[in-house]
Symmetry: D3
């Protein structure tokens, strides 16, 4: 068999993520769980959709003036999860993420519903006790329980707040929730409901060099920009604003991130997946130096 | 039969609209007419779509800091209308709306095409002779006749202007029309073509405590935010701007409102219906005190 | 301006229908009314969709072994109808069809909802008093009135039966209706509920050389074959069976036909429109000799 | 408040299912679980879609020559289930179904994924120890476990077989499975892989007057007829054949049935939901006498 | 045949473009090529979609206060191109455009992929040697070659730059490209990556009365506003901004323009086509005086 | 890095095609060309869609009573082709296929448009001079040229007939073409227009042990079963019939096959891709013994 196979392409990986696990500084992993979704399930296909959409993008970021292909990214594929078994699935995710963080690689995770952030942040927190979480979302996700369950996409940030040091959870873009969630936020989190970029800039110095995990629910963008999501909430930001937010985090010490709640079955023209892929590309390029320390 | 039926849900009503007609201060009624649509019909399914979409929302409004479920709203369902018979349909609507207004309940109507606003406003005007109409729309809807018909979605605001006191019709967001309509508007209505929120704020004091009917054609928003509509017109406002407009009307004495021209067959991901449902929720919360007087 | 414009194409006409009205033996006319639709409107866009889909077809019919382009067909475009005014619309259709039939051209009509068949058959009956109507449909359409209206897609064949000579209405493929319709059919029409082709073959001799109008509601086919229609009814025939039915009518004296209830907004991949276009092509080829008499 | 509300419609119930629970002989209940789906989730919206689609149908069945509206059907709505908690959800379903069966009402259940059949059949078996299950499906669903889980849509009929008396599980239309499932079927179930109607007719006498539960996975039909389902499998039956199967069961003593795996997010034009609704209508009409015993 | 045919409509032409080629001052021509598309082909159906969408618009432009119907526009239809043969197709386009420009008519071209601009601009340059090109796009399109081909949608503006006088190519809205393209742009084009309207206003005086060709790739708008395109790129402008850009060019001497990369198969609700049609309408109205000189 | 990566999945390969090229007896290769498509392009995404759809299937074939995973299949991915350059693309395909055939592996090719069959068959013919081609299609594809081009999806089988020995091209399911194609077929090919399975069975003995290449255009199935294709033609076979055809070829000496014209952008619910994937699975299982000789 000869070199003609160089002309063959496989679409199963994220754009330019050709590194082996060992050589990679950053690792992408799909976490296709959507069992606790309360409205539209289907985000289990989010990781595949983001990968497929990534090929519409260039590898070069105009704003960061750097290309992805020099970056040492490994795309592991999707974690195989047991359908319908939430506890086992969370354990599997925490185990996989723990390995990645313990080897000081930056972990980039593709959801899946928002509950996946819990085991991922737990794993990051295990390696980085001072961890700060920057949470971008339309919904507060701070309920004590939801439909009688304490583990749910609607409770995930309450569970996260219980893990982190006080006030290490920052929330941006929140525009929907129950009254109890706002009460909780006033006591326990740093919730911003104004312009996302301005809010972020106000806390950058405070975060300084602390290890940061970014959890980005794609529904923080308006449904006009991210229609392919489970619980779209009108009144969000634009894709241009979201990109500026990612660029503004360039100086932070981001050790891990997730992009969750991309739901392909309602993502006409794949544009939510394309937006997610572009955000992932910019995150991977922006944080390559820090994450390799 | 026991209490286990408390675990059973019915999706045929708007979010939290569990009140009986008698106890309700606000009444929702679907008016599923779309016979005079000139481009894409299908807004007859708008009311059902708005109800179904409403469950994706919280009952609590972050901005108004109040929840819907304490509000006394009755959702009557859809008015049964004779297919293709415009005159009989308009009569049925005027009759139903007249009952609601005569009992001093706030009437919230879900369209349907824009012509439904004519009998609804007629009924409101019958109870409130000083009625002011605030009209949000991409189109002026001021033609004398359309395709030879004087009763049409394209003539509805001309007919409304003929009912109201002079200059009691305010039009916002208008960006499309025939030349004759602009000529008419200069004489007979208060048409604003600039920023919607600014325009509204300029006239709030003038409207003061007069009884107000709000007629909101969802196509006032840009097709990016409200793709599910019959005659999308590029260049409109965002969903965030539209929400701010609704919040700005909080102090007014709104006695009735409609949200029209939601067309589910082109509403990918139901996001126009979700936007409409959120606007309806905010209207219901914002005007609960006044409307119960 | 030179001959380079020979390389220019216009998609506004049915496949190969380049004849002028004067020279044409067969005339196509769109009748885009859908105001009395009781479920999904949108068949007003049927004629345009059928034309656009026709270009996917060859002009040559393998089974009839003849091509469309030698056939003298004029496609007039769509009749401009007043939105929402049923009576005026029916009058306009009857007038146009009357002209076509009075000049002994075969009239082929593209709907539109099924009520359009009433004025078209009335016009045909005006020129051909012995007219026989062959009605292919999932629904009997024999109600006395529907939602209080006597003119409706659900009453159209009752109205047709009142015009024709006794037992000149033959109905095929019917698998849905109200109990009263079956009672009416037993007295007044020739309703067949078995295999369509067999039923047709049984009555061919009886019809003989009488002038025939074929009214084909596309929902006679199963929704698997014709998903793009207003009221799909499971349990229908295949597209292959429908084509055989059209070929079986070759020997009849067809003076006019309609294909109705194609509803593009639910016609994924345009395959209902393509099926309709193929049926129209076969009708135009099959009946070219007779229709030119 | 007056009689004008007679003109108001609510679409939250199945066609003509206006009876109260107490007076009803047959009870419809939605069981919107889809957490163990291995490919496309979304069948949780199946019950709502089937209800919405039912309005496109007539209440009268041409073949059974009887109408639904004289039948005493109550549509309870959907059971509220905890998202992601399989065990609690199954318990809730078994409890609700147990009440219905213990009061000798016929239970008609709208799924949801196929795992919902397990608690429903358990409840039926609790009241009818001789219960026979007729299972229509493309997939055998006989695995010992799936993705490490013993409770799954792919194991449900293995669990059912463990409950029933030997050889009381009849399987029809099966055309996909793992090798181990065929081995199990040869020992423990009555699996037919030929023509569905013929297979059914062969066992009708054997079943005789035994209480029967019908579990119908909509994917038994070919994807051409039922595209809106989670795991479509080419090579299935037509909708006409499926209707004949339902009619052939008329003489049996059906005490309960489910129609599962309708997945609206991929059900273009709602035709899978319409097919399901027609099957439900025919089941409700066909079994009204027996079920009221 | 009588005057009743005045009631007949044909949808094959752009809104109000009823002029003959001879009398027209502006000529519309579809150039349906999409063979070099690297992601989603399908823009070959762009011209038809733009025409069909144009009927949703009024003929009157509120901002320009003038109507299209007084404008003398001829819509020739689509150029018939050989499928898959790039060279022959480019020759045919250059020939047709050359005729239009040589007769001093304004040429408006509807794509098709972006490579179509090369022969069109070549033709314009043949008649207007001082030609300035204003290029609006998300992508720089400045590669030397792409996938081994020098003629591609990704190289088109490099080829254009080679034709024009130095610095006669102005590029706006560019937010994606390879690193080499930026290097080329710095030397050879006037590339602006900030706000489009501001950038344009800065160069208006410089362009002055020079003949201008406007090449507008619809993906310059954000995918929220123009989802129906082959390679959507998040972070673009709004439809309102794009309209203001068109209005700002009113004083320029525009001799030709194209609107390219509208891809109907992913254009849900046709809103990209509607946006394109509105841009075309405004271009035709804005430049009617100059173009007729 | 440890064994936890065994839980990770990659969706870029066909179901169970885990063999390396060297060990594989059968090789899958995507050939994503669609430049000469005359109606809807987009089949370039066919190979990816077929792979993604394959995971919905079991690895075990009930009818062939054998599973795919014991079969030694390598999925190479897609050949990288130059967009818009037909000649270079055909050369690349012929080269790749030539390598596969020369190493006596069975080649399975996923299209792409039908023109891809030409270089693939050329390569197969180079290794097997007695090659017989079995061609399943709705269209004859026998034109001398199309739109002025001799290399086109509409001419491909004419070119194939020119390569093969006389009467070594068998055509099944053909129901559309131009008159000239039928004339050519009568002289040069074995074209069957009746029932596909019967026609095939009639020629099985004649083909005997000759090397066979199967070229299957998915549009041979009716659009009800295969809506996701470029030029759907009503009147085709069912998916069950197509499966029976594949099973009937089990005894033949199939050395290569292609499945072409799957067009995902119009393949709602991915069911054409699923059908194609099932056909590929059955081909791979049925021909594993012979092909390894």
């Amino acid at each position: 068999m000869g070199s003609w196979q160089d002309d063959v392409e496989n679409y199963g990986r994220f754009l330019a993520a050709h590194a082996s696990y060992e050589e990679a500084r950053a690792v992408l992993l799909g976490v296709p769980m959507d069992y606790t979704s309360s409205y539209r399930p289907g985000s289990r296909f989010g990781p595949q959709a983001i990968r497929a959409a990534s090929v519409v993008l260039e590898e070069y970021s105009v704003v960061l003036d750097e290309a992805l292909d020099s970056n040492g990214v490994c795309d592991l594929g999707d974690l195989a999860l047991p359908f319908g078994n939430v506890d086992r699935a969370l354990d599997l995710m925490e185990g996989a993420a723990g390995r990645i963080f313990s080897e000081k690689k930056m972990g980039g995770f593709l959801g899946g519903e928002h509950l996946v952030s819990l085991p991922l942040i737990r794993a990051a927190h295990g390696c980085y006790p001072d961890l700060v979480v920057l949470h971008f979302d339309a919904h507060a996700d701070l309920r004590e329980e939801y439909a009688g369950e304490s583990l749910s996409h609607a409770t995930v940030m309450r569970r996260v707040a219980e893990i982190l040091k006080p006030h290490h959870l920052f929330q941006f873009g929140i525009r929907s929730g129950a009254q109890e969630e706002w009460a909780f936020a006033r006591e326990h989190t740093r919730l911003f409901d104004g312009d996302i970029l301005e809010s972020l800039q106000r806390i950058l110095l405070e975060v300084g060099g602390l290890p940061v995990y970014v959890s980005l629910d794609i529904d923080v963008a308006d449904p006009a920009y991210a229609p392919g999501t489970g619980t779209p909430e009108p009144g969000g930001c634009t894709s241009a604003e979201l990109l500026r937010v990612v660029w503004a985090m360039k100086g932070l010490n981001v050790v891990g991130f997730d992009v969750v709640e991309v739901c392909p079955s309602v993502d006409q023209g794949e544009r939510t997946a394309i937006l997610a892929a572009k955000l992932v590309r910019e995150m991977l390029i922006a944080h390559r130096v820090r994450s390799s320390r």
